[in-house]
């Protein structure tokens, strides 16, 4: 009988009145990948943070190789070989990638480290300059750097908290290979996700969390529907997204149009290079691309968070190229930003206060409660500080701006990132419905799946240029072509 590397014994954790973990006991063996499955807010991240010494459990303890330990800081967890890659990249924005990694490993940014780092980045196929400042990276790139950082530390237990879920598929496979290789060499992996299919693919064992309790532990080979059943308690919601019948756009003139747009990144290089596109009312257009190809800059330039160097942005025919973002929002342009934590919500305010700010008209208590109920924000108390919510629920609060307004134009950046399947379907439906009721929707995404489901036109962006538009009722049939263009163009 192999001894577990780590055991979690009867953990309890409460935040104020919310029970995040309720009597959780688990074991992780050397060489295995243990998947922790659960919907948004089920306590997955709390568990990870306790193991990494970020939170202190109210009751219960952790055993490593049989000896009980208490971590009161990540430094202590790290000294035992436990490393966490969290949902939200833990990097210092003002430092370069190399400096960040050196700082994390407590070494100097030496030539040797630079070489190792470039090697691993090369293997992953990401040609990022390691002297680049972190603040210039896209969210996905930051996540990748965060992962590489931890891999270089050669952990004994690697906790991956939703950190690869949103990587482009090819990259994800490469990363998972590293993780698997790592596990076969005797390291343990705790893989936290809400994506059932992905979980089934990678895991050796599966522990399902629901509302802070372990509701089931399954061995490899368990079927996906059993996992779903355990995760949500039912399977009824799982009606796939039905493609809405393509309607003729109501208006000929576009609600949003972008003409020959050029936008520079933080280093004065063109991040968006001569992009033109237009979205009519009732239309859903998606711009797809691997992270770091200019979607972020394009979205920010359209909404006014970033300066436009050349070209024009028109909203309902009026030029808005140099207007402050707030003015554009008041004119009916609603933007769902990439990073929910920093731009999507005000973390110090309550859920109700955030929603009040989103709404361009007065919100009654009923409207507010309806939005919370529809999005299934949990806990559902509107007076709770957003900082106490889990990542997925914070994204839901950020997305509530779609329900609280009747926007002319919606620009959404990876809106379903961080959401579990159920919430994902809800948000994609919401975008569909907005288009049906006459809004123009521009989806900026790295996820082909969601793009082919809801859009009528897909543009693929590579190196700041839209290299090809795909159009037509059967976008799904182009899926492989689209993928090819994204990766190889």
């Amino acid at each position: 009988m192999i001894r577990p590397f780590l055991q979690v014994v009867q953990l309890y954790k409460k935040f104020g009145d919310i029970t995040a973990l309720n009597n959780v006991s688990l074991a992780i063996y050397p060489g295995e990948i243990l998947v922790i499955l659960g919907e948004n807010g089920s306590g997955k991240s709390t568990l990870a943070k306790i193991l990494y010494g970020l939170y202190f459990p109210d009751k219960g303890y952790i055993k490593i190789n049989g000896t009980p330990v208490i971590f009161s800081s990540p430094a202590e967890a790290k000294s035992k070989g436990i490393f966490l890659v969290s949902q939200r990249p833990q990097l210092i924005d003002d430092m370069s990638i190399l400096e960040n990694i050196a700082l994390f490993l407590s070494t100097s940014p030496s030539r040797g480290l630079r070489k190792k780092l470039s090697e691993i980045l090369n293997y992953l196929g990401m040609a990022i300059d390691v002297d680049k400042s972190v603040h210039a990276l896209s969210y996905t790139e930051k996540q990748l750097v965060d992962l590489v950082k931890v891999l270089l530390a050669q952990p004994k237990l690697l906790i991956v908290d939703e950190a690869v879920t949103y990587l482009p598929r090819e990259l994800k496979h490469k990363f998972l290979n590293i993780v698997k290789g790592f596990a076969t060499r005797g390291g343990s992996v705790m893989y936290i996700t809400h994506k059932v299919v992905e979980a089934a693919e990678i895991g050796d064992r599966f522990a399902v969390l629901r509302r802070g309790s372990v509701v089931g532990v399954f061995e490899k080979g368990v079927d996906v529907s059993t996992l779903r059943q355990a995760m949500f308690g039912s399977e009824e919601y799982l009606t796939a997204i039905t493609k809405s019948p393509v309607q003729r756009p109501l208006h000929k003139t576009p609600a949003l149009s972008v003409e020959n747009l050029v936008v520079f990144d933080e280093y004065g290089k063109p991040a968006v290079n001569d992009v033109s596109l237009s979205v009519r009312l009732g239309d859903v257009v998606a711009i797809l691309g691997i992270a770091g190809n200019g979607q972020k800059e394009l979205g920010e330039a359209i909404v006014g968070l970033r300066k436009v160097a050349k070209g024009k942005v028109l909203l309902n025919g009026d030029e808005i190229t140099h207007m402050p973002a707030s003015e554009r929002v008041r004119r009916g342009l609603i933007y769902v930003p990439e990073d929910p934590f920093r731009e999507g919500v005000a973390i110090g305010l309550t859920v109700a206060e955030n929603m009040k700010l989103f709404s361009q008209s007065r919100v009654s208590k009923e409207i507010l409660e309806t939005a919370i109920r529809k999005l299934e924000v949990s806990p559902s108390n509107p007076l709770i500080s957003v900082a106490k919510l889990s990542g997925g629920n914070i994204q839901k609060v950020s997305l509530s701006r779609l329900l609280l307004n009747t926007p002319r134009v919606v620009i959404a950046y990876s809106p379903t990132r961080m959401l579990d399947e159920k919430s994902r379907v809800l948000i994609l439906r919401t975008l569909q419905k907005l288009a049906e009721s006459g809004s123009a929707v521009l989806l900026l995404s790295e996820d082909i799946e969601e793009a082919v489901y809801i859009s009528t036109r897909i543009g693929v962006i590579v190196n700041g240029k839209i290299v090809k538009f795909f159009e037509g009722p059967e976008l799904e049939s182009y899926r492989e072509d689209i993928e090819k263009v994204m990766v190889h163009a």
Binding site: G16, D17, L305, P324, A325, L357
Partner: protein
């Protein structure tokens, strides 16, 4: 070697409040004990001096200046508008009130005079804050530095006025203006130099600003501005306008306090450092003491005011410790509040290994 770690803790609001009050009371007890040990006075005597600090009506003298400034600063600081120039804005407010009272026809009209003077004082206070805000918005110049430096300009401008063109004819060469007309003064409580009217206005201001910050859209957005200007922009609210509002409001409230000092306390304009007497700086600390919450600032300003009086009481009263010791005691009482705040948010884990 013992290992010490600081760990976050989550307490419910009631528990945290009770804990804070207990720690503050404990601090007071320690202060009494310290005083009696050092001076040899009995515990009772030390206790009475301390109690007198809290029961003395003169607390309202300090509250009526400190509270409005701190309320204004809380608004500015919640929006990350680092206005360190309340002192100068107060002094310029005092100049404004004096100007209305002495040099305009309003000065001799009852009721109108003090109201006009306070309004103009607030206006000048806001105006004094404006350049720093504009420099920040147009050129990104750090507002903490500009506002801090503006304090000294305000001091010296006021000195120039009272030593030069505004020096009174009946002041025997002292650097002050003449007394302002009786009609312009705000009636004080007999035997004290504060006015109930002003105290009530100050409390009302605190309540209104609490509603503003927590109930109105602009106020809520102000509180979000500090953490993310981009978030605020995406909610359709101009971050520049919010910054300006926060700055001007804090300037106006400091100016108002300056008006109060002239109309209630001094009765004339005196040299800049005397009008200001550091209230603009004390209010910075006070606003953090109250957790940038206008409602909590009411008890916090009372506490701070009581400590002012206590410090005097300890020096001249029956306990008669020196001023250094008095300030040390007052300082440790303030430190206790910070400690209480820390202990309700974090706990220390010490292990021997």
């Amino acid at each position: 070697m013992p290992k010490v770690a600081i760990v976050k803790r989550e307490l419910s609001k009631t528990v945290a409040t009770v804990a804070k009050v207990l720690v503050i009371l404990l601090g007071l007890l320690i202060a009494i004990a310290l005083t009696s040990i050092i001076t040899g006075a009995s515990m009772e005597l030390a206790g009475i001096t301390l109690l007198q600090g809290f029961l003395n009506l003169n607390v309202f003298v300090y509250i009526s200046t400190l509270l409005p400034i701190a309320v204004g600063l809380s608004i500015a600081f919640s929006a990350s508008a680092w206005n360190l120039g309340a002192e100068g804005q107060l002094v310029i407010g005092a100049v404004g009130a004096t100007f209305i009272a002495l040099y305009t026809p309003f000065g001799r009209q009852e009721v109108v005079a003090p109201l006009m003077a306070l309004l103009f004082a607030s206006f000048l206070g806001a105006l004094w804050a404006l350049p720093a805000a504009l420099l920040k918005m147009a050129r990104g110049i750090n507002e903490a530095l500009t506002t801090l430096l503006m304090n000294f300009i305000a001091y010296h401008m006021t000195n120039y006025l009272v030593k030069g063109p505004w020096r009174g004819r009946a002041v025997y060469g002292y650097p002050t203006t003449d007394m302002i007309p009786v009609q312009a003064r705000i009636p004080t409580v007999p035997g004290y130099s504060f006015s109930w009217y002003v105290v009530v206005i100050c409390v009302v201001i605190a309540l209104l600003m609490q509603l503003f910050l927590y109930r109105t859209k602009v106020g809520i957005a102000l509180r979000a501005l500090g953490s993310s200007p981009r978030f605020v922009e995406l909610a359709g609210i101009s971050s520049k306008r919010l910054f300006l509002i926060a700055f001007l409001l804090s300037g106006a409230l400091a100016g108002f306090a300056g008006g109060v000092k002239v109309l209630v306390y001094h009765g004339k304009l005196v040299e800049g450092p005397i009008v200001g007497s550091g209230y603009g700086f004390t209010a910075i600390m006070l606003s953090w003491l109250g957790g940038l919450n206008p409602l909590l600032l009411i008890p916090a300003s009372y506490y701070t005011a009581a400590l002012y009086i206590l410090s005097f009481g300890l020096q001249i009263g029956s306990a008669a410790v020196g001023d250094a010791l008095a300030n040390a005691i007052v300082g440790s009482l303030l430190a206790f509040i910070l400690l209480a705040d820390f202990l309700t948010k974090y706990r220390l884990v010490i292990r021997w290994s």
